[in-house]
């Protein structure tokens, strides 16, 4: 269906680029009217994608306001078009785009705030994990414990930032704290984002806990993790986080 393919390519290109006029020759209506008809579709396309982006990035939206966000979104949509028929999957690259978007350069915390928004968005839709398979773990020989690979819960995400993005998030939640101002001098944060039931929690972690979980999330073998972290602590102290994170449903599975 080459003709269909060509027609669809040309229409898609013209809808994403208001300056493009070449498609009007394929339409029944005459030229000034054709442009208006195409503009109805352009408005639909950019409108729907922008609304989806706003829903996925609510804190970024509040930080910059509607006008700024919508214009940035229109640039983003052209640069990183939607790749899925499910609009909830659209927008993953927005933090990366914001990091390179010159009008946002005086808001250096904006990309990381975006990353936190996206983490919350992913966690909102993530499937509930099954309870940790204790019985299966009980069957693993002790000699193989160091080869275990523990998995982060699908409803958890890890994030680090040199900015206090959790406070920036907090100041933009109407229902919560009376926090009215955030001072960037407060410094960075290591965050765990976790959904419990219908509630999403942002949990600041110690660097040690964050590195432990990050190494496991990257697929590191359990024994190997301890080559990298807290060598100043006793073996017993270093052994504790596993139990803690499994009991809190942060680690929910393992493989070997």
């Amino acid at each position: 269906m080459q003709q269909l393919h060509d027609l669809q390519c040309k229409l898609a290109k013209t809808l994403l680029d208001p300056g493009e006029t070449g498609f009007e020759q394929y339409l029944v209506s005459s030229s000034p009217e054709s442009r208006k008809r195409l503009d109805v579709y352009r408005s639909n396309v950019f409108g729907a994608l922008t609304e989806a982006l706003k829903a996925a990035y609510p804190v970024v939206l509040k930080l910059v306001g509607d006008e700024f966000f919508e214009f940035a979104a229109s640039q983003f949509i052209r640069r990183f078009p939607s790749r899925s028929g499910d609009l909830h999957e659209f927008g993953r690259e927005f933090p990366q785009f914001l990091a390179e978007y010159a009008p946002a350069s005086n808001l250096p915390y904006l990309p990381d705030s975006g990353s936190l928004d996206w983490a919350c968005h992913e966690v909102f839709f993530a499937p509930e994990p099954v309870p940790f398979p204790l019985e299966r773990l009980g069957k693993i020989p002790e000699a193989d414990f160091h080869r275990l690979r523990f998995k982060l819960s699908p409803v958890c995400r890890l994030l680090s930032s040199r900015f206090p993005v959790h406070r920036i998030w907090q100041v933009n939640q109407a229902e919560t704290s009376p926090l009215q101002e955030v001072n960037l001098n407060e410094g960075g944060v290591f965050l765990l984002v976790q959904r419990t039931g219908f509630t999403i929690q942002l949990i600041p972690l110690s660097r040690w806990d964050w590195e432990f979980l990050s190494l496991l999330d990257s697929g590191e073998e359990f024994g190997g993790v301890f080559d990298y972290i807290r060598k100043d602590k006793t073996d017993f102290e270093r052994s504790l986080p596993l139990k803690r994170f499994i009991s809190k449903s942060v680690l929910t599975d393992f493989s070997i």
């Binding site: 509040k62 990091a99 009980g138 414990f145 040199r162 009991s247």
Partner: protein
Amino acid sequence: MKNRTICKSAVAGVLALGLMTGGASAFANEKEKMEMMDQSGMEKCYGIAKAGMNDCKSGLHGCKGLAKGNGEKGSFLLVPQGTCNKIVGGSTEKG
């Protein structure tokens, strides 16, 4: 070799949890708060707050987002105007 003592102690601790609480299902207990983690009141109940984005309506969005070019310096499209004014301190240099 490969931190075996730590691994043994860690896994033993996990398996002991199962014996104490009667099984893995206890770990899904929502009443357990995270004593060892700092919550700092940072919770949001999304519940039904997020509406589904997929639908088959057409919108009357206008062409706000379709402005061409980079706009003029100081154009409202390029100047953030939101709660960014609540974020103070630090350096404005990009990292």
